[in-house]
Subunit: 271 residues, 2 copies
Amino acid sequence: MKIKRNGRIGALIKILCDHPNKIFTLSYFTNKFNAAKSSVSEDIVVAKKLMEDLKLGKIETISGAAGGVKYIPLTSEAENKEILEDVCKKLSKTNRIIPGAYLYMADVIYDPRVVRKLGEIFATQFVGQKVDYVVTVETKGIPIALMTANALNVPLIILRRDSKVTEGSTVSINYLSGSNGKIQTMSISKRAIQSGANVIIIDDFMKAGGTAKGMIDMMNEFEAKVAGIGVVIATKEPENKVVKDYVPLLILDKVDEINGTVHIYPNDALL
Amino acid sequence: MKIKRNGRIGALIKILCDHPNKIFTLSYFTNKFNAAKSSVSEDIVVAKKLMEDLKLGKIETISGAAGGVKYIPLTSEAENKEILEDVCKKLSKTNRIIPGAYLYMADVIYDPRVVRKLGEIFATQFVGQKVDYVVTVETKGIPIALMTANALNVPLIILRRDSKVTEGSTVSINYLSGSNGKIQTMSISKRAIQSGANVIIIDDFMKAGGTAKGMIDMMNEFEAKVAGIGVVIATKEPENKVVKDYVPLLILDKVDEINGTVHIYPNDALL
């Protein structure tokens, strides 16, 4: 089927954006569109400029034998501000406070319309790093971790709270959860992670950092390198957490059960 | 910023496809592109035809006061065949068999590059239904359920195996897991589901159907209507499962531990 330039650019953008960070060869598009290499190259130039002008992410051309073109979903600081302020607004509603000064947030962090944007913000922070896997621990961090893996075009690994018969041989570790001072276990199939891999750790919440530290320890068991840690919400206190380098999207300062107020704000460094 | 038609169509497709099943008004695009209503209308016609020609899903215009334009990610039968046969090929590798005749599948059902396509296949099956939520139970079904929710543009609800202090008041039910004959518990925050909602249930695996039945019972607690059930893999035996209407993507006939063979095939009805 012969497709006109109008259409080619639309289709090119659709295909690239559906597969973030995947490299497509020029021949893929010349075959698909029944068009000359020179035409497709021109289409790419137009698509590239368009994405930049409208701040919809970045189209990158890679030269050489393994070359081609790929889409990188980059969020701008202005976009981060809009998205993160919107999430803060949702989370600071008084009726979210749960006895014990917890914050109900399942509806926000399980909503694909929210987490796909948060996943793109995380992916933007780790762009340029070699990432083989995104790693999380069940349960609440899974949606945001999956969307980060989606934006980075890599597989997700889910650490389990206990070992399952369906996973075969597993590696288990114990770690100290800082939030409740209890020893907990996490476990993963031996075959889940290639030795020496580069990983990004993503979770929904960090208080003392014990769970993130547990995930780092688990990665050490596989001689995997932790290239970055991202959490949706980090509490302001304690300031000294057991992990050092992490990127929080939001900072939770205070949940005041008595006055019914929540103080949460975006991480300045992302705006 | 004034954007030429070439670019407008690309940007229109990018924005629509980034937000499946979300309705955008014409004014949204006339403002964004600084273009006349008539021009944007013509762009939509071109984009519509293009998506149909390339079988990349459907762009639909909705007339009336709440009208506008939206993108529906529809998979064709040919696409289903290609995707599902590819997943079968991956899953039938001998080295996936785990003692007890289980099949290791975490790497496949946690991979965003796989599950986003499976999510679109599910969404296609339930298109035209009014869906308020996608519901799953932790853990292995979460990635595929999230991607189905993403394609349908609705929130995801995750039922937990036990009740958590961070969820506030919860509703819990007990159910009989057909696979291991044990009584199990699932639980969800009272505030998670609006009474009378329409839901789709998505899970990774169904043997006797006990877990799906448990989820239906849980929905009854909220007077929610189950509009459909989708599972990635249903076992061939037992043929009589405790739930009747469900859409499996794949049928697992046999895992033969002694001969090291796996017999799994796509659901014919989808091809």
